[in-house]
Symmetry: C2
Subunit: 295 residues, 2 copies
């Protein structure tokens, strides 16, 4: 279900332009109108990472909370946003609005999911909780997405009492995402504010904007920006999204079951299946529909 938007930068950056297009898909140019959420990881003067979140159960294209997000420029190092079309889990329930957040080893981790876990995964994972075998994290709402997130974090915290090296961590997370992708339709973004992981179970695209910057035109509205006017030559901004946001830029597609990790606007980890496959947007939408999710 739903669509994902992520951003990773090497300097605090306002996601306003991308979000202005993305939010239109929450009720105006598309039907993801059962609420939205956005998580901003911001850097303090001393380099600490703080998180703030905005959630609303109104459609993002007209939500006053989304208006605030657009008009109050928040400069963040990492952002995860999600617009929701409810398939599993009650509509109009804030506990079901992504991104979901949990503290892991003294870090805030945000997670958003697009897809649908299988009934059998949902039953088995609920049983783990009932039997007391998933002791660290428990879902608050009723979505399959939060259940998958808690599953992943319970595995992680059981495997590592303290934070392992980035390489070990990203390899472990890729393996968990592969498992989840084998048990449902699973596209996700995960960030701890310092890095952002993107896993494509079906559809996910990215681009990295850097010098020389040019103009970009939104696909979902009459809006363009010339990034030359708002950047310095050192800026690097990666944007990750379910379906490309601009009509004149070259978006890279993430292969099915490929895992990328972005840090400071660059790719720092990549795990690609030996046989690369790519879905067309039409195939991705059809697959989502066939499993009761939506794109």
């Amino acid at each position: 279900m739903c669509q994902l938007l992520g951003m990773s930068c090497n300097t605090p950056t306002d996601i306003g332009f991308s979000f202005a297009g993305f939010r239109q898909r929450g009720g105006a140019t598309d039907h993801h109108e059962d609420g939205f959420g956005i998580a901003f990881f911001e850097k303090s003067d001393s380099g600490d990472i703080g998180l703030r979140q905005f959630h609303d159960n109104q459609p993002s294209y007209l939500s006053p909370v989304a208006d605030l997000v657009n008009h109050y420029p928040i400069r963040a190092m990492n952002v995860i946003a999600h617009i929701r079309k409810a398939t599993t889990g009650e509509k109009n329930n804030l506990a079901n609005v992504h991104p979901f957040v949990r503290e892991v080893w003294g870090e805030q981790w945000a997670f958003a999911h697009n897809g649908q876990m299988t009934d059998s995964f949902i039953r088995r994972t609920h049983r783990l909780h009932t039997n007391g075998n998933a002791e660290h994290y428990t879902p608050v709402g009723t979505t399959d997405s939060e259940l998958a997130f808690c599953y992943l974090l319970n595995r992680l915290k059981s495997a590592f009492k303290t934070r392992p090296s980035d390489e070990t961590l990203f390899t472990f997370l890729t393996a968990q995402c592969r498992y989840l992708s084998a048990n449902g339709l699973f596209n996700c973004l995960i960030s701890n504010g310092r890095w952002q992981l993107a896993y494509a179970g079906s559809l996910l695209f990215y681009l990295i904007r850097q010098a020389p910057f040019g103009e970009a035109y939104l696909s979902d509205g009459e809006m363009s920006v010339d990034f030359k006017d708002v950047t310095t030559s050192k800026d690097k901004v990666a944007v990750i999204v379910t379906i490309p946001l601009t009509s004149n830029e070259h978006w890279q597609q993430i292969a099915v079951d490929e895992c990328l990790v972005f840090k400071d606007g660059a790719i720092v980890f990549r795990d690609t299946p030996s046989k690369k496959t790519y879905m067309t947007i039409e195939e991705g939408i059809a697959l989502a529909r066939s499993v009761g999710a939506s794109v």
Copy 2:
């Protein structure tokens, strides 16, 4: 440090009036200008509790996020708000802005603190984390407040693998708050969205508004409301605050080291020390200053 505002209701209620006064203390009528946070627990159609939070590092009296909170009426069952005057922990760091939130047994728990933990408590509790003896929750920011919250939750989760009865829970939480109060200046509000606990280490007041409703005048601004116009005869709203918000209502003071739990706007649990003492507002402010906190 800082000031607290809480609300517990038997029907979804807009905290706008109280918040309109409270936010003035964040830079206009008082000096708590190092950011603010507010957590709303809202009920979905099926009775599920969802949480949304707003945090900003701008002073609450002029913050655009606080403007949104005031103009976008959010009707909640429980609310916890906090305005911050930084004493411990970096200013301008979102990771240090209350309320702090953690998931406990599949519930979101929000916590806000006014006071200052002792250096010895801070050292000992950091040592627990370093030695791996505080495995469930770890602070993200650098405040003594979040450290105290994590201490309390680690004790709770070690003592109870699953949620105990309310009576057992409230008794346990009172004992933990007493311990924290013996190791610092400790006023706090804690809520899981269904109940709200208020513990007074020095200053905390409450009132319960119910029929017959009357008019109320804010102490911090030229604003009044006639609650008759905006309520039904069944409504019950408890408001808890560091220093009374209105000038013409009778606020009850919570005794030093007294613990109250509110549910649906009523007191459902009370643990009062055998010898009741009350501080004057002047004494409370003087005590806060003497330990390096602020009220």
